[in-house]
């Protein structure tokens, strides 16, 4: 892989540190008077999500991480792996539970997801911002209550549980924000 010099640092750049891929979140140039210049970066570990600080002497270089993001279609899960297809190459990829993390609970099939590939394998998967899923289980609706005053738990067809308004019934399709796990509307 290529190397990046500190002068190329900017947020979003993917670099290797201690054998793990990281994304630069923030880059600060610090130079005392006539002294040595430094770049202090906040970096996010792309495997664990943990954010740490690292300081480099300006002019140092660091190995680039072979990380890129592609939109892929979710095909199916076999219980251990989630299978995706790159719609431009038809190439298939399998993501493990660690890569899926929270995304798994929003997917039933055919959704287009943002997949982060590291050395050619899925490292992280982002569900679409919103999904439309049927409610498989919730307490009976309260007829006429459309004020949105109260809410109740509802289980979706993928197994995810969200809070929905009281007037929403089993069998209805809901639009849900996957980032906040919030009910948006009836679909």
């Amino acid at each position: 892989m290529a190397n990046y010099s500190t002068s190329e640092f900017k947020s979003g750049l993917k670099i290797m540190l201690d054998g793990d891929p990281y994304a630069i979140v923030d880059n600060e140039f610090v130079k005392p008077g006539k002294g040595q210049a430094f770049n202090r970066v906040k970096v996010r570990n792309l495997k664990t999500g943990r954010v740490i600080d690292r300081t480099f002497k300006s002019g140092d270089s660091v190995e680039a991480a072979d990380v890129h993001e592609t939109d892929m279609q979710f095909l199916y899960s076999d219980g251990s792996f989630w299978h995706f297809m790159d719609p431009s190459s038809y190439e298939q990829y399998q993501a493990d539970a660690a890569a899926m993390a929270d995304a798994a609970k929003w997917l039933k099939g055919e959704e287009i997801c943002r997949v982060t590939l590291y050395n050619g394998s899925p490292l992280a998967v982002e569900a679409p911002n919103t999904v439309e899923l049927a409610i498989t289980e919730t307490d009976p609706g309260v007829r006429g209550d459309t004020s949105g005053g109260g809410n109740k738990p509802a289980t979706l067809e993928t197994g995810a549980v969200v809070r929905v308004p009281l007037f929403v019934n089993e069998g209805e399709v809901s639009k849900v924000n996957t980032r906040t796990a919030e009910y948006l509307s009836r679909a």
């Binding site: 130079k31 008077g33 006539k34 040595q36």
Partner: protein, 319 residues
Amino acid sequence: MAGDSNWRPAASLEALRGRARLLQGLRAWMDAEGFLEIEAPLLSRAGSPELHLDSLHVPRAFPDGAPGWLGTSPEFHLKRLLAAGAGSIYSVSRVFRAAEAGRLHNPEFTLVEWYRVEGTYAQLMSDIEGLLSHLLPSRLLAAAPERITYREAFLRHAGLDPFTVATAELQRHCGTGGESDRDTLLDRIAGFEVYPNLGRGRVSLVNDFPASQASLARIRRGEPDLAERVEAIVDGVELVNGFVELVDADEQRRRFEADIAVRREQGRDCPELDERFLAALEAGLPDCAGAAMGFDRVAMLALGVTSLAEVQAFPQDRA
């Protein structure tokens, strides 16, 4: 096709008016203190080999085909004027520092540099305090200026004595085993721990630097040797660097040659040794004290903003 919205200035027009007023205030102070304004060349045939400041190389800059350098300060030209008997002088000019960019850095900025003939160490510090309190609003300077030695500043804000601490302890402190150069480790602690905590509500003048960080300052012999060098910090931002100036031509040549050797070893660009400057020192530089102030940073603090881009019409990304 959409136009490039970066044609507009980065700073607000109001900030640019504020900056112009500060420049007028600066010139009024210099005039009242008896400094003569000088315009030195930006483009030089030689330049400074200082290790941590890179000039910009300009190929075929001169009519004879010789390359030139856009320099990091007007220091050598101003000192040649001092040696020629100009008396106390100052300049306000753009200077260049290759590849420096960030919230507090731009590869080109305005440097105010002044020299007081027969200026002492104490006079240097009171000049810096006087100028900064003239330029900065009282909200930033509620308390009286503080003069604090480099050693004391490190003891107070990093909990170590920079002159006696073991190198291994500095490495532990920085969490890095790979760096063995003491000054690099000290620079890192200064930049991240010490300076950010200085100048809170006042001017802090850090003085008595390690002799290894003397740059062009005179060294006072003692245990340890100390550089008569001052840095002024307000609100955690370094604004001024000043020296009781080194007037010994042989010592100056030795320091240049040491820096040039390191640059060559690192395979870095290196301006020619400035023989005209050294000749001026040999002819005799009067005893003097001088300082350089980053005008853009002063404007940034005075106008209550947090980045240089907010007081520069066209910072590097729109220049």
